[in-house]
Symmetry: C2
Subunit: 493 residues, 2 copies
């Protein structure tokens, strides 16, 4: 059954990237009033919050070559979601697949954002936060309220779940379950008035929910509602979920039932800071007041919290920390005192047990970026890779002492972490490009323009394919070899 | 082409109301994971902001029996959208049609709202504001970002336009154009901080837009962006559009081009107060500060503004005023001083030229209703019909002197205006019911439970059919005779 008899190229399957550019143009046509759809029925998506197309599920034979679990933002505490495939994986998966998937309300990839720019509108559209890829399925949250499950090889929709609020979480997958959380960055009128009266406000109007869904059907298993937003990606560990929210708490839930184990009052809003775990703690940044927190993962007690002078919102509460070898790293934003370049990013490396700052690196002053003011750090083999959305620079720093190995001028706001494999960091940034950066020396060896705009969306590499979502509402699968052909490495070494 | 081979009953066509209850149950099934859909393609709605199904357009022969224009909220300054059909109209239109249409993310009609209640979530879902019906097409905005055009006879989707923000406007239709406006009730962090610093904030994060769309295709003709929300329904008069916004202005645009004629700084947010025109002025209520405004429709100068003591947000800025014979009426909310029943609604009747209060009627004290705290007044033949969401009472008052003709205890929050035809007021209220009230004496002669929950959604009567939208995301067409059979009057007298 083909809903697009006149547009077979809209679902390209193994289309080349050159073809993807064509598809982006085709995609823009219906928005201009030239749709050829002739169904006399309402399409199912207009009717119900839930859709399910089991025919699009991957086979077990294919699913086995993908990651089998996803427990935290970007899959691991170092935030590097890169997964080689073994030599016995199908050639097409090792070579990389190409498709694009547009959520409801997606924007034409080559057009401007509505309103002409994202100054006021950043992060109210599309899929700002990255995908997760488990057992042959790509999962992604959309600000339109949907969570989508997409066949990783074909790009076809398996299910869509509507959650009645923005989904800016990187879906977690454990066993047969997907966990997502929802919420937005806003305040309603009553909570704005609380601010004014010196009362404690709650951030996140409407319904804020952590959902457990069936991995293959999208069926809702349980829903836990919080007073404030649940924008950050939850953290799964040992049967429990941890989540920071807009009501100033960290929640611990039993993952099987959704029942509350404890909630810890940290006062600060957790805006977009997805918890990381390490050394027996869970860590997150918070806004209003601006602090970085370490909580005992068992008791929920605040083990330590720390701040530095001149911190401004919403840097620390929007940065997702990374952890490796007893060190937790977090980017923050400080006021520079220079009116022409009023802010700067600072990368902090803290001792996980004490909160003592081991080193800090201040990046150049610059203009205030719209919306989110920090990027996600990535740690691989004792090196931290971090961007500055303020200055548009990208850095490699020694994890132990902060020694700068190199820096690279990107010149566009960087909010995502890179996916790093075989010596190349694949880094999306706001201009809609993916840069391929040689991590040995920081040389940018290639740039691929995909269109749209990238927020804090860490790309995911599985075999020969890079998967990335954008704030125009698209998930794109790109063969690595189409970004930087000589380094396409699809097989585990 | 039938997308629902196994669920033919989902699109009922001329199903009875009893059958609609069944459909609501079926509709809930996919949300519980039992969808039978087997398409192997992504449905079109998942892909693009715009959809168009020309086969579902009404014929000219049918369209002629419907209103031909819609220039203001609820179609006229009295806010009574009731249109008889002539005796030569098709029998099925005079008898009334039955269908239901669910927007993307609609809730099962007989289930609870997500989270169990609407205390924190009211108005973040569904279609809170009413439909407009022009030339055989029902137009409705959805908080999910879509504007839908639906065949008024069959309930089938004609087009869907995605506007990247909540659409709480009652679409206007003039000539070949539909005008809608978008926005939400929220503040982003930066604007919350402005409040705190005593600076002037803007309400409405993200993209706020007034769109002109082609009436029959949904194609976008122009888009005008405002800094603050555009939740109220615009007003059309003599080739111009007027709109109040969350940046504290009233805008006047040329309807053909979308170019600005003037904007008047009123400071107050226009939240949900849809402008009404009369006596050469445009009128609207505003919040923060709480004032009611009259602007010269040609110059944009504030002719007068008025307030009364103890007014509380967000009563006046959420009430859509009505106008008749030189009198403009507006409901407001005041603090009562009684901690157990802290607020009361007050209906104000003002001289349109001077702003002098001709009379005011204070309704009983009661608890603070969630979200919107006022209802839409309706004026028919010198009588004002108005509900109190605080007390759950419904009133008829003489327009000239405020003399109370009757009151009726509904016992559920009333935010909508009624549609009144042949001596019966059809009034939706929060419990998901439509009451049929005899306006001669205020006797409730019938109640029909439709399910879901009704916000400020004025129903529309055309011929023998009542059209109404709800906050669960559904538009329902109900034969009047199924609400109150002995008064079903489908022919002009």
């Amino acid at each position: 059954m083909n809903l697009f008899p006149s547009h077979p190229s809209r679902r390209p399957g193994k289309a080349s990237l050159a073809k993807l550019a064509m598809i982006a143009i085709l995609a823009s046509l219906p928005a201009m009033g030239h749709s050829q759809a002739t169904s006399s029925q309402n399409p199912v998506a207009m009717e119900f919050p839930y859709q399910y197309f089991p025919a699009n599920l991957p086979s077990d034979a294919t699913a086995q070559f993908y990651p089998s679990v996803w427990t935290t933002y970007a899959s691991n505490p170092g935030r590097n979601p890169a997964f080689p495939m073994p030599a016995n994986a199908p050639r097409k998966l090792r070579d990389g697949v190409a498709w694009s998937f547009a959520g409801a309300g997606a924007l034409p990839l080559n057009g401007p954002p509505p309103g002409g720019d994202f100054k006021t509108a950043a992060y109210t559209f599309g899929m700002p936060v990255g995908v997760s890829v488990v057992k042959g399925i790509v999962y992604v949250g959309d600000d339109n309220g949907y969570t989508y499950a997409i066949n990783a090889q074909t790009g076809k929709l398996i299910w869509a779940h509507y959650g009645w609020n923005m989904n800016m979480s990187n879906p977690l997958v454990v066993g047969d379950r997907v966990f997502v959380s929802t919420g937005s960055a806003y305040f309603n009128y009553a909570n704005t008035m609380k601010y004014l009266k010196g009362q404690r406000p709650t951030r996140g109007p409407g319904l804020n929910t952590i959902y457990a869904l069936d991995r293959t059907t999208g069926k809702e298993l349980w829903a836990y509602h919080t007073p404030g937003e649940g924008m950050p990606t939850p953290l799964y560990k040992n049967g429990f979920l941890y989540e920071g929210t807009g009501d100033g708490h960290i929640y611990k839930l039993a993952a099987d039932t959704g029942t509350l184990v404890w909630k810890a009052d940290i006062v600060s809003f957790d805006s977009m800071s997805s918890l990381v775990e390490g050394s027996g703690y869970v860590f997150a940044g918070g806004t209003n007041p601006n602090f970085f927190y370490a909580l005992d993962e068992n008791t929920g007690k605040i083990a330590w919290k720390m701040t530095i002078p001149d911190m401004v919102a919403t840097g620390i509460g929007d940065c997702t920390p990374a952890y490796q070898a007893g060190i937790v790293v977090q980017e923050v934003t400080v006021s520079s005192g220079d009116p022409s370049n009023p802010v700067a990013n600072v990368l902090l490396a803290m001792d996980a047990n004490s909160g003592k700052i081991i080193w800090q690196k201040r990046f150049p002053n610059g203009p205030v970026p719209p919306a989110m003011k920090t990027a996600t750090p990535v740690i691989v083999n004792g090196v931290v890779y971090e961007g500055s959305p303020v200055s548009g620079e990208y850095y490699a720093l020694n994890l132990k002492d902060g020694h700068q190995l190199w820096s690279l001028h990107i010149g566009s706001q960087i909010r995502a972490g890179a996916a790093i494999q075989n010596g190349i960091a694949y880094l999306p940034y706001r201009a809609g490009d993916i840069a391929a950066i040689r991590i040995a020396d920081g040389k940018r060896v290639a740039v691929k323009h995909l269109g749209g705009a990238f927020g804090p969306s860490s790309p995911v590499i599985v075999g020969g394919t890079l998967y990335v979502s954008n704030v125009y509402g698209w998930v794109t699968a790109v063969p690595l070899k189409d970004i930087y052909s000589s380094t396409a490495a699809t097989t585990a070494e």
